[in-house]
Every structure is written in C-alpha cells, then in structure tokens.
Symmetry: C2
Subunit: 359 residues, 2 copies
C-alpha cells in the first residue's frame, strides 16, 4: 500500500489509524457480529457509539451544557436554509459575505426574510476578511452570520468578530476542531464534517438552547432544530457510520493533545508553507497576511499554464489535489488536522525543486 499526501479541500485526509480501525471493525464491531453500518440506530450497541461521540466532541470543543449538539445530514448548504428558518424570528438577519459559501448562505436567507449584507470582501476577490464592528449590525437583526474560514479563498477571521450583544452564527465547516474556539461567543456553530472530522454526509450543529423553538411554521421537520434536539438527532435514522468515524477522529484528536495541540501542529504546518511561499520568487500567496487560513493555503505563480504544470507534476509526485477551486484557479493546499507535517514538508521540497526548474 502506498498512501499519498492528499491536499483536497474536502472530503479530505483522515488519520491513517482511524481508517485502519474502520477496516478492522468492518465486519464485526467489538464482537457484536455486525458492522457499524448494519446496526439499528436504536440498539444499545449503537447508542453507546453516538453518546460517546457526542461526549468526546463536547470535551474536545469544550462545549458548555447549555448548548445542544446535533448530528444532522445535508451539509452546510442545508444549514444555509435551516439557520434563517429557525433563527430569523422577527424576520431580519445580517450577513457578512467573505467568500462563495457565505454568499450562498446570504442568498438562501433572502428566501425567508430581510437578509442584509453588512460587509463584503468581494471587491478584492475575497482576499481578505471585512472588518466588523457592532455599529454595522442592525439593531433589530435576529443574528449575524459569518463563514469563519473560507475554503476557496484561504482566509479566516483573525479573531471572533465583535457583533455586540447580537447572536453570532458561524459556518465553521473548514476550520472546526483545528484550534480551540470559545463556543460561548456564538449562538450557533455549524459544520459539514468532511474536512476535519469525518466522511461526507454528517453535519454538526452546536446551538444554544435558548435559541430553540422560534422556527417558522413551514420549516421541514428535518430542518427544525428544536425537533432534532428533542429527539437527540434521532427523529429518523442519523448518518450512523459517519458519526462513528467522527467519534474515532475525536478520540484521535483527544489522544494527541486536544485542540491546543491541534492548533500548535496546524500553526507549524501553515508556517512551513507560508514562510516558503513568502520567500519564493515564483509563488505568491493570494490572501492578505492577517487573514490567512491555517487550513487552506492558496497560492499562484501568476501564470495559469505554469500553475497547471505545477499541479500535474505534483500529482505525479504523490502530492494530490493541489488545484485551486475552479472559480479562482491557481493552487490550494488544504492541510487539515489529519495532514501530517511530513506532507507539508514534502510539498515545500517539491515546490523548491519546481521553482528551481522553472526559474
């Protein structure tokens, strides 16, 4: 077996030991005589799995007791509707547009009420995070929505935006569990699991309990946070296997020092890459320095043909999925928790060689 370094923006690398455990337990989970894929979600053996997964996630993220954790389906794009359907109780919400996904979230919210874009960084192709101050937020807005890390453009909020006493809602799909986050500063955090936590098909929602119960009448039951919370994410069959894998990934993260340690590792990895890019005469980072993402490192040569050559040769060298998103081109190295430091070092070594050959 020869594993490659996979820089995909998502779905993306999982820890090898997690995959090995999945394989080992595939036909018989801990003597149950069944695969986790085959278990009734209401059986005691599965109940223990989902409960332990939630407990580990709470421990990892330091989630206070007055927040519910929901294991849902449909990806962040489903949450783009669920958030306004549940939280736009008086009909107004403010959105910060810092990339393609926050733009989609903003567009979706307009179906359900008066959604306003209070700040955008589209003027410079989302190369930065707009500054947010409490006075920008409408007094009667129900919440402020942000996308905390922008996967396509490689930017991240340098700190939690100050929205005064407003409810802050954050899409953290591409940075969740990459570093500690003060959950109490948010009313709702949601994330597709397929970047840092699990295979695609699981969406995690963390929501403050007092925000439950204000959904619109025509909210589909499966998008109703209160209903999902009251049923412990089991109104119907949850994505059982993805939850099991998430549980293994949480255990891996806890065993490896939790989110403080993840942050340290991720900072080191990002520094190796950004430091080289900043010193390079061929490559240039596209995001403003103070808003750079630790998870998605975007860069270009400035020559589309050379970018293409780079991605092709990198692929052949076992450095996979480095092509930037089709909307921006260039290159993107997604270096989530499961990407080892060795992968980033191998990438930089390859970049140096490529630079020398293409000077």
């Amino acid at each position: 077996m020869s594993r490659i370094y996979n820089f995909s923006a998502g779905p993306s690398m999982l820890p090898l030991e997690v995959l090995e455990q999945c394989a080992a337990e595939m036909t018989d989970y801990k003597g149950s005589g069944m695969s986790v894929m085959e278990m009734s979600h209401r059986s005691p053996v599965y109940d223990a799995i989902i409960k332990e997964t939630e407990a580990d996630f709470r421990k990892l993220m330091n989630i206070p007791d007055n927040y519910k954790v929901l294991f849902l389906q449909g990806g962040a794009s489903t949450q783009f509707a669920a958030v306004p359907l549940n939280l736009m109780k008086t009909g107004k919400a403010d959105y910060v547009v810092s990339g393609q996904f926050s733009k989609k979230a903003f567009k979706e919210a307009q179906k359900y009420g008066d959604a306003k874009c209070i700040a955008s960084s589209e003027d410079r192709t989302f190369a930065y995070i707009p500054e947010i101050t409490p006075d920008m937020v409408r007094e009667d807005a129900d919440y402020v929505h942000v996308c905390y890390n922008n996967t396509i453009f490689g930017t991240k909020y340098p700190e939690v935006p100050n929205v005064g006493d407003k409810v802050l809602v954050a899409d953290m799909s591409s940075c969740i569990t990459s570093e500690p986050v003060d959950v109490t500063k948010f009313g709702c955090i949601y994330a597709g699991a397929q970047k840092n936590m699990a295979p695609a098909g699981l969406t995690v929602v963390i929501i403050r309990e007092d925000l439950l119960g204000t959904e619109k009448e025509f909210t589909p039951v499966m998008l109703n946070y209160k209903e999902m919370a009251e049923n412990d994410s089991m109104y119907n069959t949850p994505p059982c296997y993805a939850i099991y894998v998430a549980g293994l990934v949480y255990k891996w993260a806890l065993k490896n020092g939790g989110l403080e340690a993840m942050k340290k590792r991720n900072e080191e990895k990002a520094a190796i890459l950004y430091d080289y890019i900043d010193s390079s005469k061929l490559f240039k980072a596209t995001a403003d320095k103070k808003c750079r993402s630790m998870m998605n490192v975007c860069f270009v040569t400035g020559d589309a043909d050379l970018d293409k050559k780079f991605c092709k040769e990198a692929e052949a060298a076992g450095l996979s999925n480095l092509k930037g998103h089709r909307s921006v081109g260039g290159m993107r190295a997604s270096i989530y928790n499961a990407m080892p430091k060795e992968g980033v070092e191998a990438l930089v070594a390859f970049m140096k060689k490529f630079e020398a050959e293409n000077a």
Copy 2:
C-alpha cells in the same frame, strides 16, 4: 469472527462480501493511495464511482432515460417535505395513510398546501393496505402519495395502486430493489438507503423529468429537485462513502441475477417464515394475508411477556433485533436482500424449539 443474523428493520444487514471489499479498500482504493472517504467528490476517481453507481442502479431498476436519479441526504423524512415543496404545484395532494411513515408524510405535506387523506387503514392498526380506485382521487390533486411497504406493520401494496392518470409518488424505503418495479407507473420514487442498499445517510430519488421545476419559491435549495438534478447531485458534497457502498451492493445484486432473482430469493425466504407461522399454534402473523410484506414479517404470541422472552432468547442465540417497533410490540423479522436463506431457516428452527418449550 462470528457474524450474527441481524433482523434489524434498518439499518440492516449488508452482503458480507461488500463489507469485506469495504475493509480491503479502506486505506487505498484501487491504488489511488486514498480511502473513498478521503476523496474529493469532484476528482476523476470519485466521479467514476458515482457514475458507475448510477449506471448500475439504473440497470438494476430498469429506469427509463426520462427519469433522473438523485443521490441525496436526510432520509425519507426529508422527502416528506421535499415532495410537496416540489410537486404540489397547484396546492392539492392526496395521501394514503397505511402506517406511521405515510402518516408522517401526510402531516408534513399539510404545511405546504391542501393535503387530503383519501384512505387509511388506521382502524385496524394498519394491518392491511386500503384499496385505492381512481374515483377516490381528487380531480385537481397534483399527485397521490403512498408508502409502498410499511416497515413497522409488515404490509405491502399487493400491486401498484390505480390512481388513473394522476402522478403517483411512492416511499419505497423498505422494499426498493427487493423485486422488479415498473418505474413508468410512478412519477417519483424515493427511498432511504439503509434497509436494502447502503448504510444510513443516503436517500435515493427517482423522478420523471417533466415533474421538475415546479418547486415553491421558499424551497431550501438542498430540497429542490431541479437544482439537484441540474447539478448531478453535487450542488454540494454528496454522501460519497454511502454512495460507494450502494454501488457495491448494486453490483452484488446484479451479479446475483438482478431483481428477478432477488424477488425469487425473497419470496422463498418469506414463504419459509410465513408458512411456519401460519402452521404454528403459538405464533400469529399480524398483517392481512394479501398485503403481507416480503421484507418485514411481523408476528406475535399474543402474550407480551412471552414475546419479550422470545426476543431475549433469540438474541442470545445469535438471532438479533427481532423486537417489534415500540409502537406495536410483538416481533418483527426484517429479511432484506442481504439476509441469507440460512438466516431465515435458523430463525424458524429457533421458533419451533421455542414453541415446543413454551407450549
């Protein structure tokens, strides 16, 4: 390893050879150096997987070209909202209530328009399928909705209901791919995959193309059939791994003779069980004979304590998850495609022994 016979109503048994292939390919899918869980859904290697899965599903179900196949998330319960949101174009729809899930579908539809229950079997705890004739359907109804196999009550439509020229919509979660179905008689078929096709977290929708494009304005984008069809189920990241497993299951079914052969196997299995129950003095089947499900065989002793004893002793004998749904009690043996005939024979042998011991 000792595999048990798992009679769970869903998630449920998968073919052992499929699980073994999942395990073998877990850390390196066909020399890609990646798990299927780690692949970008837009990569060539994954594109081949989803395309082949769809092609095999179309072949297996004999789906005509004027029907789209969608690989979605959220389970049938999400479709309970999606169906009226997309298909209730003039605002009226007729529902047949033949069990708990069709009741939930009917309730959900009432959020979006004038949904009418045109027939119900609730008077006898859903022990039968109500008869449907075209004159029962409202002239201006947009569609008629049925649940084709009722998992909890063990009933199935003996034939496709005659709704005249109306669009027929069917929830086939617990019988899809168990036997051939004439897709052309339906406008829309949907199914959660976790019973006969894949792990939980995948929902398959088969929809006639001319029915696309009449969704309500406030339909969440992820519940919009047209949007999903135009994006080949990749508006966002689909449940990639569950789709891969479904693909392996479809290949297994095709290799084993397709749906005609599945039907034969399933009829045989069901006959072994029903024939014994009908001859038994202890056990009694709960569904009316002409509406009996081939997939979910429900039976009772008539004594709740004895039912409990039966389930407990069966569990200890490696015959798992035979307890009936909490809403009806008794026993239920779910014998989907992946349950081998040997499993049913082992169950009947155990039932005979139990009957002798508890005469």
